[in-house]
Amino acid sequence: MNTQDEKIRFDAIVVGAGLAGSTAAMMMARAGLNVALIERGQKAGGKNYFGGAIYTHAIGEVLPDFMDRKPPFERPVTEAGFWMLSKDGGLTKMTVQGGKLGAEPADAYMASRAVFDVWWAEQAQREGALLIPKTSVVDFIRDSAGQVIGVSTDRAQGDVYAPVVIICEGVNNLLTQKLGLIDHDLEPAHVALAFKQVIALPMDTINARFGLPDEKHGLAASVLGDVSLGLPGMGFVYTNNTSVSVGLGMMLDAVVEYRLKPYEVLQRYLRHPAIAPLIKGGQLMEYGAHLIPEGGYRDMPKLYTGGAMVAGDAASMVNALHWEGTNMAIVAGKLAAETAIEAHKQGDFSAQALSQYEARLKDRFILKDMKQYRNFARFLETHPEFMDAYPGFINDALGQFFSAYGMPKKTLFKNILGSLTSRRQLFKAVGDMLSMGRAVMGW
C-alpha cells in the first residue's frame, strides 16, 4: 500500500473512460505499459447517455477478435437512411437495405453507450489497465519546464504521476482549457443537445412495426422534417433487440434562445402520427440528455503539449447531428496511444515527440475518415441510385438539411451567442432542463 510519501506512479494516465479513453488505455496496456484510467463516474462512460450505431471497422481495428468477446451489441444495422416527417402526419422513407448492409459481422450495430462503454472499458482492464472510478482529475502536475508529468485528483493524497497523459474528458473540456490547448468553451452554436427515450417493446412487436424479418435485422434512421419545431435539429430512430431508441438533437443555442423544454419537444416528436404507433404501448426505460460538440474540426483544439494529448469529444472529434462521434473517438484514442507507446520507446515525451499524434490524426481523419464516414455524404456516395430515383425530393431534403446546419445558422444565432458568454450559464441551462425532465418523469 502507498504511504503518504510514496508517489503513485504509472507509465501513462488516461483521463476519462469513454470510448476514446478506454481505447487508449487498452492499446497502451497491451504494449506493456502500466496504465491508470481515471474516470469521474461510478462506471466507465458514466455520463454517456447516447445510444446509436457503433461502427465495427473502428472496433476491429483496435480489437480484431471483438466478436469473440461478446460485445453487448443490439441488432445489426441492416437498414439505414432517412425518414421525412411531414406536418400533416405523413412519412416518407428513404432507406436502403441488403447489399453491403447484410454482411457479417455487420458494418454497424446498435448499442447502448451506457452498456457498451462499460464493456469496452472491461476490455482495457483485461489488457491490464487499472480503471480508477469516482475520481475527478482537477489539474496537471508539471515539471519546472512546464512539461506535464502527472495529474492531481479531487481525492486526498490524490496526485498521480506519469510521463504521458491522454485527456479524453468529453464535451466539458475544462482540462483541455487548463492545458492551454483551447482558450474558450465550446460555443452553444457548436454544441448539440441530444435527448432520447429508450422504450421497451417485445421483439416481435418491433419486427412487425418496423418491417424487420427477425432480431438479426435492425433499422437506423435519421429523421428529418417535422421533428424539431422548424428549428435546426434532427431526429433518429434505432431498433434495439427489445427496445427502440427515439430521440432528437438540436443546437443548444436554439434550445436556450426559445426556452424550449427538451422533454416537451421530444414528446411532440413522439406524438407525430408516423412515430406514435411505432412506440405505442411500450415501457419507458430511460430518458437522457447529452451534450455533443458539433463544431467538427473547426473547433478542434491544439491536440498536444509536452506530456499530454487530447482525444475524443474533448477534441471536438465528432459530428454529432450525423451521429458519428464513436468511431472517431476510438481511432483517435488508438492514435494517441500509439504516439505514447512510441514516446516511451524513445524516452521522449516532449511536445515535439507528441506532435506525431496530430500528424497521425491528420492522416487518418481529416483526409480520409471525416469525409468517408460522414453519414449523409457516405449514404449518398454509396447509393447513387437513390438520387436518381428521387431527385426532386432529395434535393428538397438536402436543401433543408444544409440550410439548417450550414451557412445561415451563423447569422441566425449571432444574437444568441452574445447572451451566452459564460460556461456557468450554459451548463446551468442544461441542468435546469434535465431537472425539468426529472420532474416531469417523476424520477
Binding site: L131, I132, T153, D154, A156, G158, E286
Partner: protein, 279 residues
C-alpha cells in the same frame, strides 16, 4: 486493539428506481447496485473508531460473487479485511435464515479474533425489514442498540459502549457491555471520500469467499430456502385507484378551480368537519 465487524449488503439503488409513467411498472434495467446507505454510514463510524482507538475493521456480506464490488467499496472506505459469504445453498434466505448464517460467520471470526462491536445499518433500503441486525444479536446473545445516531464512547478497558439512539419520542443514551451490536442511522458518521491510495488498494482487493464447505460451520437445515419459515405466496402490482376529476385552473381561473375543488370536498363532508375544529 479495537476490532469492529460491519455487516454490509448490496442493494439496488432504490432512489434511482424509475417508474414507467404509463404502466406504473418498475424499470429495473440499469438500476445500479450500491452498498446499502445505512451500512455505509455504519462502516464509516466503525472506521472512525478504529482510527481513534487503533485496531481494525472487518466486513462481511452475504450474496453472489457480484457483491465483491461492495466489499471492495468497504475497503475503499477504510475496512481492513472482507469476507463474502457466497453459496448457492444460501439463496432464497429470509431474514431468519440470513441471521443464522451471519451469526455463525461472526461467531467464527470472533473465536479467532475477538470482536468488540458489531455494526449493522438500521435496515436495508430494498427490504426495509430491520430484522437481521436484531436477529443476529439474539443468536449471539449480544446486547443490541438499534437506531443509533451517535456513539459517545467505546471504552475497551472498562468494556462498555455508550450510544445515543433516536426513537419516535426522544433520544436515549444507552450504555451496554462489550461486545455489543449496534444498528445505525445515517447520522452516526459521514461517509468519507476515500484517499486515492485506499481506493487503488480496494480496486485490487479480493475478499475471502466463505461457502458451506469451506467453513463447515453451517447446518443445512437452517440455511437458504430450507431454513426460511416464510415464503412469498404471491406478488402483484398495487391496484390502481380510481382517479378523481381534474380541474384546469388555466382554463377556468384559479379562484374558480379552488372553489370547485372545495365544493367537492364539501360534498364529501370533509371541509366542514375539518373547519369545524379550527378556531
Amino acid at each position: 486493539m479495537f476490532h469492529a465487524l460491519v455487516a454490509i449488503k448490496q442493494v439496488p439503488d432504490t432512489t434511482n428506481i424509475r417508474i414507467d409513467p404509463e404502466t406504473g411498472n418498475l424499470v429495473r434495467e440499469g438500476v445500479p447496485a450500491i452498498m446499502n446507505p445505512y451500512d455505509a454510514h455504519a462502516l464509516a463510524s466503525a472506521v472512525e473508531w478504529k482510527r481513534k482507538l487503533g485496531g481494525k475493521v472487518t466486513v462481511v456480506s452475504m450474496g453472489p460473487a457480484s457483491f465483491t464490488v461492495t466489499i471492495r467499496e468497504a475497503v475503499e472506505l477504510g475496512a481492513d479485511a472482507g469476507y463474502l459469504i457466497s453459496d448457492r445453498k444460501f439463496a432464497g434466505a429470509d431474514t431468519l435464515a440470513t441471521s443464522y448464517v451471519l451469526a455463525a460467520v461472526i461467531q467464527s471470526i470472533h473465536e479467532k479474533d475477538p470482536i468488540d462491536v458489531v455494526f449493522f445499518g438500521k435496515q436495508a433500503i430494498d427490504g426495509d425489514t430491520a430484522q437481521v441486525g436484531p436477529g443476529v444479536a439474539v443468536r449471539l446473545d449480544l446486547p443490541i442498540i438499534t437506531y443509533a445516531v451517535k456513539i459517545r464512547d467505546i471504552n475497551l478497558a472498562k468494556r462498555h459502549i455508550v450510544v445515543e439512539r433516536k426513537t419516535e419520542r426522544w433520544t436515549e443514551v444507552v450504555e451496554a457491555p462489550l461486545p455489543a451490536l449496534v444498528t445505525c442511522e445515517k447520522e452516526i458518521a459521514e461517509v468519507p471520500f476515500a484517499p486515492l491510495p485506499d481506493l487503488i488498494r480496494s480496486l485490487r482487493y479480493e475478499p475471502e469467499v466463505l461457502t458451506m464447505e469451506s467453513t463447515g460451520i453451517f447446518d443445512a437445515e437452517h440455511v437458504g430456502v430450507r431454513g426460511s419459515p416464510t415464503v412469498v405466496f404471491k406478488m402483484g402490482t398495487p391496484p390502481l385507484p380510481e382517479a378523481g376529476e381534474k380541474i384546469n385552473s388555466r382554463e377556468i381561473g384559479v379562484e374558480a378551480a379552488v372553489a370547485t375543488a372545495f365544493a367537492k370536498a364539501d360534498a364529501a363532508g370533509i371541509l366542514s368537519s375539518v373547519l369545524g375544529g379550527v378556531k
